[in-house]
């Protein structure tokens, strides 16, 4: 990229998506409603019974996973549905579009995860964390990985029909290794002190993030064309 530079264009795509989201609230509304409904369902079903730690860790990530599934495909689908993707194609190459949208999804999911976790901890007193740093690191890495996988699958799904059902179906086997690892890391955060107790899990998560992003970088060009 000569003019504007790669980073500049990526930032421009990101800015366009952010201000579009603020104007239309396609994803935000869906995510907000999703959070409220699922949390209240969990609250009603648990009442005051105590549940083991692993269940909390698992449940939290089930929430985050489905939230990602309901919100993160929008950024590509709206471009495709409204026919604005051609305008983008006539304006830039694939890579900055991909990274702009990835950045948007990552930040959206990080914000969502933060809110979800705080709400979850407030509403369910059984959610006790021994090591807050471990929790934060796991949530962060898990969210980045989940957002990365969701973004490339979202780009795929935007080109297909029957997207609503297909999105979780395609994503689940891809993110399962990530989910299992991050659930384990979250469990460790609730059981052990010290930020490095889940070091192995961090390594797996980081290499997952690197691998999925490298693959996405290589294949996105092919989704983008045609």
């Amino acid at each position: 990229m000569k003019k504007g530079g790669f980073l500049g264009v990526t930032a421009a795509v990101f800015r366009k998506d952010t201000s579009s989201e603020i104007r239309t609230r396609y994803a935000l509304n869906a995510l907000f409603l999703f959070t409220v409904t699922t949390l209240s369902i969990i609250l009603f079903s648990f009442q005051s019974s105590t549940v083991p730690v692993q269940v909390h860790a698992g449940l939290l990530w089930v929430l985050i996973f489905f939230a990602a599934m309901s919100g993160l495909s929008r950024t590509f689908i709206t471009e495709e549905d409204r026919g604005t993707i051609l305008l983008l194609k006539l304006s830039t190459i694939s890579t900055p579009v991909y990274y702009g949208k990835l950045l948007f999804n990552v930040l959206l999911l990080i914000a969502l995860t933060a809110i979800l976790t705080v709400l979850y901890a407030m509403v369910l007193p059984g959610f006790i964390v021994l090591s807050v740093p471990t929790l934060c690191i796991s949530l962060f890495l898990g969210t980045v990985g989940l957002a990365s996988a969701s973004t490339i699958i979202g780009a795929l799904i935007a080109k297909a029909n029957a997207r609503g059902t297909l999105y979780p179906v395609l994503s689940f086997p891809i993110v399962l290794p990530l989910l299992l690892t991050v659930i384990r890391a979250t469990t460790i955060a609730m059981e052990q002190e010290g930020w490095d107790a889940a070091m192995d899990e961090y390594r797996v998560l980081i290499s997952y993030i690197l691998a999925i992003n490298a693959a996405s970088y290589l294949v996105f060009e092919y989704i983008w064309k045609d």
Partner: protein
Amino acid sequence: MTLVQLTASGLRKDFNRRPVFSDISFQLRPGQTLAVAGRNGSGKSTLLKIVASLLSPTAGTVTLTVGGNEVPARWMFRHIGMVAPYLHLYEEFTALENLSLIDRIRGAAHTAAEYEKLLAMVSLERRKHDVVRTFSSGMKQRLKYALAWMERPGLLLLDEPRTNLDADGISMVRSLFEEQRRDGIVIVATNEEDDAVMCDDTIEISAPRRGGMPPPAGEGS
């Protein structure tokens, strides 16, 4: 504006192994204009998309050279301005925002004065702070012209150029067209005789018939 030269050779496109058109070749030098004619569904838009490298052909090549150097397909957009019915704007943004956002994504940064000038050219200066959703289809079409014209592209692709435009709009398109043909290339896909006669050349595309089957439906003209 940079001087560009466009060569298309042996272009052919199949949809699901059914040919839309085949063996289309042409060469355009700066100052040349070409009209693409054909029935509805004959693949005029498909041809334009292929020339803009938005779609890859089943066979054949499109080469764009700038100052004698060939431009790789993924960078072609830099020299292309396109106006087409299937090209949509960001409706949640204002006219001005559409210009500046796309400008940034293109990696360029025109000044506010230049945006004003463009909007004045397409007579939208009074509505520049209104979101595009509230625009009439003619106004959207005008804004598309402003977007296509912003970079002063070497190659201008117009699909159904007068869609939704009033007499004023059509004369604006005319003057753009004349301006562009001084040292740039224009390709117009059209059904209207008036548009075709403006151009130096016309190519007529029709689906290669196979056993009397009608050409595939669905792909808009």
